[in-house]
Symmetry: C5
């Protein structure tokens, strides 16, 4: 699907793809959005815009990392977009490919993106965005991409709290498994954010002329958001490592508890059993056996031993 | 709540908010403090001072990280302020937002801050602060913010000592739990201090004109304090990791102790029990049973075995 | 084996080694490929091309790390080429040695390389490659080398998934062993990619004149591929460390399970055995023995004890 | 206590504090040493030397980190001095505060320092030090401070060897405890050395005019010593971490040994006990009981079982 | 022992120490080698060459780290030389001290060094070395020093393979001990190589005039060798850490195995023993005891229980 907006002298027009080339030459401001483009629509990239074959190839081959490349008269930007908010499973992300020059923005993506739809609608309705220039349009898109990461990161924070609680409650259902999946997703997320930070770094360099000085502040704002994402992910990652230690130590503690039970029972029962064994022997001459109260004395003696041991364990704080 | 101080030619005046704009134009030195401002007071930021909408938005949305941003004719600074000294629970911090130009300082915060009140009072009473310039006022505020972290960090040190002692005393009440909460707080604290160090780095660059050369030394002093905080937190963090190892090793040691007890008891009791078992068998023809002293000899023999084992364990240092 | 291609004015000729010197002086574009060269063919490097003895020595001694060296009128590049796709065993790589100036590329390798054969064939058939210049030929070779690493890295990803699954299935056949071998290979791979990234860094510096501005983009593309490899390897390495933790925790969990079984059995059986021991003693005067239902009462009592213990363990979630 | 040395035209004079100001103006070389100064002596710093209040405050508040600060006409240096050589307890250090300009050195310290006394004596006796300039005097002091760290670091090395040996000898008295205390001290020491390295870095910058080119080499020598300290501490720290692993693995090994003993005894004794249990049953019809050699055959059989098990364990290398 | 070679106009002469000063002034190329020098020979350094006292002191005090120092008219280089190839014990290294200017090289070492002898012999026999200049002589020495490290590093690789194999073979003789000693040596080696890399970094800076442009390539070659050493040591160090994990996990696995054996035996034997206990009680009224086949039924029942348990453990994969 292809959508084109042209802006010139305060007027926004929804144009047909076939007149794109003409608009480019007229120096109109232009936003072309390609959602899941077919072969014909892809051709517009090479024929109307004359983008470098390498970049078009990049658009076709997905699984790109975020980057920015300078092609003299335009920049080619890839941004990873978070998609689907289920942290239980493996984390999925898609890409948005952005071509941007001083007069146009071309966005290519292979799945419907709500954030693009929202901005597109807004750009159609008011002239607010185009008025401030092509760089402000770019800002709106990038800001949307970055802000979409916050709910994910917040959810990660909640997940960690959940895991931590689970450990204290000794609720054992595959805790480590959860930690591991979360770690996997955070590693992925961290790589994505790192790559996107590099893009912003390029933008904020003072020799980057695409961005007007008055709009620079907006990009600084995105940068600030990315840094906050970074801080959060870093902190959460360290916390996650902490919960793992917590989990391992809780396993060790439980082991200790189990061993203590075993040891206490064994240590109390074994000597008693030995005594019964002794008086169960069949020797002819065992004087104790024939005494009147031997049995009761023995039972009492066994009781004393047990008591003494229990007191000993109490003292050792095993009970 | 809004408070405004105006300084001009050695005189400090408490002014009304509605004449702020006028004072700005007159190049008077000005400190405007907004504590938990209402919508009307917030408007002063945009209308009298004409601050950038992005910065005002930042003031409204809390949970910012410390940063400094250059808006040509003023700087926008966010500083995290430590709040509430309970380390047991999760660590809480609030923000102070500072707008600073060559002639005014505007501080915005959403809760009462003692450190601001102290400086405000001092600035009202003596001309000491304003006399040395707006940058000295800024220094006073920042110094207060940073110095508030020292008691927290000192408390962390004491907590670690406490935990360490608890481990040696084998006092088991949720030690790891404590270590984990402390770690969490230190991670957070570290991020905050790192961000604030960056602000000071910006201040101390020689091309930073807001600060007069004679006041530079004061900011170097803050920097030095931050570095000390850093050193302390780093060291404590490493120590905390050390106590965790200590704790794990103490668990292992206790496990060893428990296992030893179990093994010693089992190893001594089992052979004795076997012997009693043997003489408890009902075979017709068991010559030992009919000897006069068989029972006593057997008891003595069992005693010898036990003794031999005890000596063996002594030698092996298990006892 | 030696192969030489000469290109001049749109024509590609397969030339004899003995006229190489002549072609060099005529400023023809030249590609000389030496596959497993004999002593005579090696001599061409020193005599026709007058390469520095140190570089020729490097070609003869294998096990080089990737590097680029500037010899004023030519560059000497070593690249590690992945060879053989069996990750189970230790990872093997060979080298390709490339001498490149503005007019020639000389490639030396000690084993047949499919990627060279493919490019050679392509260069013979169409003028596409030579037309764009010697630097494009270099790009084609380097791109082939780098792209050969992707299947390996993908395979590593699959291996990790396999190992992870094996841990959850409690399939114990030498899991750690596999993790260890994989780690070994990844360490090696990482070193190789790091060294190759440095080469690309040198290429992309703006003062590197060998590459024409129009072909620079292609080398940026290679750089981008390397960065992707890097990201993947880094992520996989962290994941692998994660699986190791997972494995260790699964061992600990199994240990816990075993200990629980032991403790439950012991704790239930021992008191019962003690009771049977008591009534197995041979005291003359044991009133219970002579009661009519003593035996059955005792059995019932033992049953109750066992039941009580089972309930206790259920409550403690050990069962 | 205050001591002042004045040097001028080859003559060294012990002067009174009250003529310090005069000597400063006369451009005599001057060394003023304040040991545990009283309020009156502190006043000299502010009144005669006119040092900045911030630096004087630093002198009064101890627990400073090593640093160098540039106050236009003099430098303020803080150096941590090692004090007391008992590594068992927590590591103590004090500070020496140095004010240095082209014509004077002022040293302030709160406890008697042998290294200062030594240099003071030397400076009184010969003109060797003052002749080479104020910077050489500074070098002498700093060199003394740094060299004092070597015996500590050497002692750490010996301690580690001691701990390591203790582990192999299975000498258990609080080993981990020792490792932990040592780690604590090394962390502290590392911070100190790092801060001092930064001072030297400042000194060796070529735009640092306080030091004459001919004396620069001496400061390079100090730098070299610091680097050696660094190397040693780093290596020892890594070794210490290694000994911790060694200790943990030795605990695991001992646990294994204990468990083996337990398992062997249990595995041998239990089946034998079962057999005696069987022939201890009171069934009327148990044919074996009435055979002539049943008892002896049973004993022999039990012996065989035990033997077979022992051989089995030998094969499994548990014995 | 002192040896001096003088080179001038294609002629190499073995000269006497007493004419060194003269040769220095004549601008002859000169190599003076001091092996284990006596006091008289040391004096040559200060009197003929007028080297700085600090450097001569460095020569006398051994245990230096590799470094390069610029003394205006000469450079002072310390290089650590590997000595003795026994990795079992602690790693020993000695130093070679090199003074180099544009016209002479002075080497000082305290033990016989084969690599020096080899180069000295070569320099005596052919003019190859001196012809290419003093810097080539320096290269020859440094190259020899670095190349001496390769056999050590290769040996480390073999040791690691050996340790790894030992773990799989469950060959227990002090494995961790070996890992620890190896780690210690690698730490030391790594520090040495790092320091030597820094020297080469200084050499390869373009403003380093001692080295002629045509000989620069040779030093790049040494640098390349050092980088290879680095890569190898890094990889081996990571591998060693891996083997440690492997070892710990093998201990855990063995523990698991032991615990399993214990649990299986206990779990099978205890219930059987309980049954024999029951029928060993002396109650008057136990109907089963008087039945004809009670004994055999009981034995069969016990057999069934044992069988059922074994099947259960098989299912749980404990057997």
């Amino acid at each position: 699907m292809i959508r084109c907006l042209s802006y010139s002298q305060g007027e926004i027009v929804d144009i047909e793809p076939n007149i794109i080339s003409e608009k480019i030459n007229n120096k109109n401001l232009l936003w072309v959005d390609l959602e899941n483009p077919n072969d014909f629509e892809i051709k517009i990239l090479s024929e109307s815009f004359r983008f470098h074959p390498l970049t078009i190839e990049d658009c076709l081959h997905r699984k790109q990392r975020s980057k920015i490349e300078d092609y003299q008269n335009y920049y080619f930007i890839v941004m990873n977009v978070f998609k689907g908010r289920k942290l239980e499973k493996e984390f999925i992300n898609s890409e948005i490919f952005i071509f941007v020059s001083k007069t146009y923005v071309v966005t290519v993506h292979w799945s419907k993106m709500e954030l693009i739809d929202v901005i597109y609608k807004k750009a159609t309705v008011t002239t607010n965005i185009f008025e401030r220039g092509i760089d402000f349009l770019l800002y709106s898109i990038m800001d949307g991409v970055i802000d979409d990461y916050f709910p994910v990161v917040d959810e990660i924070g909640e997940k960690i709290d959940e895991i931590e609680e689970g450990i204290f409650k000794k609720d054992d259902n595959v805790v480590y498994n959860k930690i591991f999946t979360l770690k996997k997703n955070m590693l992925k997320l961290r790589k994505i954010i790192t790559a996107q930070r590099e893009i912003l770094n390029t933008f904020l360099r003072h020799d980057f002329t695409l961005i007007k000085e008055e709009n620079r502040l907006y990009f600084m704002d995105i940068y600030d958001h990315i840094m906050r994402l970074f801080d959060l992910i870093d902190t959460y990652y360290d916390l996650l490592t902490g919960t793992l230690d917590l989990y391992m130590s809780s396993i060790s503690n439980r082991m200790n508890e189990i061993m203590k039970t075993l040891t206490i029972i064994t240590t109390i029962m074994m000597p008693l059993t030995l005594i019964t064994g002794i008086y169960g022997m069949n020797f002819k001459n065992m004087p104790e056996l024939n005494t009147e109260y031997g049995y009761f004395v023995t039972l009492a003696f066994m009781g004393l031993i047990a008591l003494w041991e229990i007191l000993y364990f109490k003292k050792k704080k095993w009970l």
